[in-house]
């Protein structure tokens, strides 16, 4: 017999945890399912300097811990489990997990996004052996070594700066000739003598002999191919929404983002989405948290009106 809840939140980043906080305070019977136990993309983030209330910045994992503590204090239950399927069209809705099935009157999807992979030879092979998507986790392995960072957005530059505390040199490889990162981060990056920029360039291959030893890189303007000797490569080329498990249960756009209106409701009644999973534009911890709060308020109203 499947366990029933009023509200199930799928995914535990800032959107899901804030939804959980609001739902807990509304005294809803709410549970969150997250394959890593919560925190989401915050767990990957070295420091967050634009979350209001933290003028000196806060480490992503520390903010995750605080959000988990805050939400569970008001009754949110978190289960470390992955949802493999959502049957949204039925009422109650059904959620399948490796250990069984849950039922829910309402669902909020906050599965966020995952780092994109380069998709080049050597990448899969050397994950954990010099290929990383998490500077907070792995930068300390590269003390006094040479490291490449691929990407030019906020994540690449912010994490690249964090890696300079350990590495001797950080080569930023970017396919354009300007950075997309916030100006304040660009200023810091250009002023940091450990940061070296390789513009208009992409990575073709990651080389190694048991661990990463170098990259084949290609200038996309000139076509020139060269080799860069490095000990590690951190990849921050963007994210893609985590929506594969939905398999059409709610409407997604061509890039995989869940389609929502202003009310954050998905194409299925009683199912909301908040945070990066439905947001290709803002993608901030604070906007995700705000959307999570809104979704929980709307879900609570829906549950009241449905008079189950």
């Amino acid at each position: 017999m499947a366990v029933s809840h009023e509200l199930v939140i799928i995914g535990g980043g800032p959107a899901g945890l804030t939804a959980g906080l609001y739902a807990g305070r509304a005294r809803l019977d709410v549970i969150m399912l997250d394959p890593t136990g919560g925190g989401g993309y915050l767990n990957y983030t070295e420091s967050i300097e634009n979350y209001p209330g933290f003028p000196d910045g806060v480490a992503g994992p520390d903010l995750a811990e605080l959000l988990i503590l805050h939400a569970t204090k008001f009754g949110l239950k978190i289960k470390t489990e992955e949802v493999t399927e959502l049957v949204a069209a039925e009422n109650p809705k059904r959620l399948k997990t490796p250990s069984g099935e849950l039922r829910a009157k309402a669902v909020i999807i906050t599965t966020g996004s995952k780092p994109m992979k380069l998709g080049v030879p050597g990448e899969e092979e050397y994950v954990g052996r010099g290929v990383s998507y998490c500077a907070t986790c792995d930068a300390a392995f590269f003390n006094d070594q040479n490291v490449a960072v691929v990407g030019g957005g906020n994540a690449a530059i912010d994490e690249g700066l964090a890696i300079t505390r350990h590495a001797r040199k950080v080569f930023v490889i970017h396919r354009r000739n300007t950075l997309r990162a916030e100006k304040v981060l660009q200023e810091r990056a250009f002023a940091n003598e450990k940061m070296h920029f390789i513009w208009n360039t992409v990575v073709d291959r990651i080389h190694g002999d048991g661990k990463v030893t170098g990259l084949s890189i290609r200038n996309i303007e000139t076509g020139e191919i060269s080799e860069l000797e490095i000990d590690g490569v951190f990849i921050f080329i963007g994210t893609r929404p985590t929506t594969e498990f939905l398999r059409g249960a709610v409407k997604t756009d061509e890039r995989g983002y869940i389609v929502t209106g202003r009310s954050l409701e998905t194409s299925v009644k009683g199912v909301w989405a908040a945070g990066d999973v439905q947001d290709p534009v803002y993608r901030q911890a604070i906007t995700a948290a705000g959307q999570g709060a809104a979704a929980a308020i709307l879900a609570e109203k829906y549950l009241q009106q449905m008079k189950w």
Binding site: P35, T36, G37, G38, G39, N43, P61, A64, E65, T80, E81, E82, P98, V127, G128, R129, G130, V131, S132, C134, T136, C137, D138, A140, F141, F142, G210, K211, V212, D231, G232
Partner: protein, 108 residues
């Protein structure tokens, strides 16, 4: 629930390489919150496989030589040893069922 045993580099040879049981070693660093989230999964499996598989964790930041010896440059990395040999290696966080399958493939 078993408390997961933490070892240092000095004990690695005796506890891991010379163990008569297969050993699952989780390499972690204190700054890696994913590793912390991985602990309950490892602890659950340590309970389930008690008597047939040994589970240990090692701080890869403090035990650099051991980490380098096994080319661990990312955490969490879980390495399964049998008779002193590496028989499987899992990079990153994996769900409980996946890790259990990988262990079963070695034990059975």
């Amino acid at each position: 629930m078993l408390k997961l045993m933490e070892i240092s580099g000095d004990a690695f040879a005796t506890e891991v390489l010379e163990s008569t049981m297969p050993v699952v070693v989780e390499f972690y660093t204190p700054t890696c919150k994913f590793c912390k989230r991985f602990d309950p999964i490892i602890e659950t499996l340590a309970d389930r496989y008690e008597g047939s598989v040994k589970f240990l964790r090692i701080n890869a930041a403090e035990n650099r030589e051991i980490a380098m010896q096994f080319d661990v440059f990312g955490v969490p990395t879980t390495i399964i040893f049998r008779s002193g040999d590496v028989v499987d290696r899992i990079s990153g966080f994996v769900p409980e069922a996946e890790l259990a399958n990988r262990i079963d493939a070695i034990v059975k």
